[in-house]
Symmetry: none
Subunit: 157 residues, 2 copies
DNA sequence: TGGGATACCATGGGATTTCATGGGAAACAA
DNA sequence: TTGTTTCCCATGAAATCCCATGGTATCCCA
């Protein structure tokens, strides 16, 4: 599982250290690294380990082989995700398109989200975090009984 | 597994580099190359490695020997697929009919689809990608619980 | 409980390898 | 022959590997 929030530097070569505890939670995967993709939900990246990709793959496999919605998901998910392998010190190098998409320049904030994690530009994250905090404060009762209609903080912003 | 999206050039001789990570995921197959066929879902090519062909073969084997759809699949899949072997630097040369079918001229976009991949003309891919992305965004919950049939990505977009 | 030693972690930079691509020569087909 | 396809080598750019360093948290023992 991915926990806590860490900000690390991005060097001139586009490399960034993945937080050590994130690395620990994907240790033992067949690839020595993580999978990263552009979020559907905003200007940040999302990532996870092998296990997460396998879960997504299984969800897709449950669909009809050539159903149009299945191929759409396959293109977006498999085509959009990239495996990034660790170097010997636990860094990955961020593809330019990914860095641009998330407006990452000199620093990256890794946010643990349980099964997956997010990678934000520190400033963008600070703003979003403030909103999330306010939302959580106003809706804390929802934690006990999740809302039926699936609303999400910050969606549609 | 095939991941990520890469665009490579097609040279005057009709050769195109297969992305290195695609090559890595078919390394060890008995043929040093990939299998490619015309999609029956649109103006693009599909491809995969040995393992995929064997799976398709097994799926067809499970059908009735003289089922009309079985023989149709056999003709389309085995008759339509061509093994393309890598040269020493990892390129394949695209048969003219394939390039024409997918409107490929100077560049080809390889899209990882998990077990298989697609090859698109970059412009055609950009259009389709935009539609797929929108679809995925609107229907991401379907990943958890597949839709009950009927709705299609991009229809009426 | 303090303080020093140790292990871990993020970071920097140089050297090396890989990768995509171009073009010539050789093998092959018509 | 003439045109086409396959093999091989060359090249520049980009990604990766490897070693070094400083800082920080942790451990251990007095």
């Amino acid at each position: 599982m991915f926990f806590s929030t860490t900000t690390n530097g991005i060097d001139a070569k586009g490399r960034v250290s993945v937080p050590a505890d994130f690395r620990a939670s994907v240790a033992g995967d067949t690839i020595n690294g993580i999978y990263v993709w552009r979020s559907f939900n905003g200007p940040f990246l999302e990532g996870g380990g092998q296990r997460l990709m396998e879960e997504l793959s299984a969800a897709i496999d449950a669909m009809d082989p050539y159903d149009d919605s299945r191929t759409a998901f396959e293109r977006v998910i498999f085509g959009g995700a990239r495996p990034l392998t660790f170097d010997s010190t636990g860094r990955v190098s961020l593809p330019k398109e990914f860095a641009e998409f998330a407006s990452l320049s000199s620093k990256a904030t890794f946010v643990g989200m349980g099964k997956r994690f997010e990678i934000w530009d520190p400033e963008a994250h600070a703003e979003r975090h403030a909103r999330d905090l306010e939302f959580a404060r106003e809706n804390k009762s929802a934690l006990r009984r999740p809302p039926a209609n699936g609303f999400r903080p910050g969606e549609g912003a």
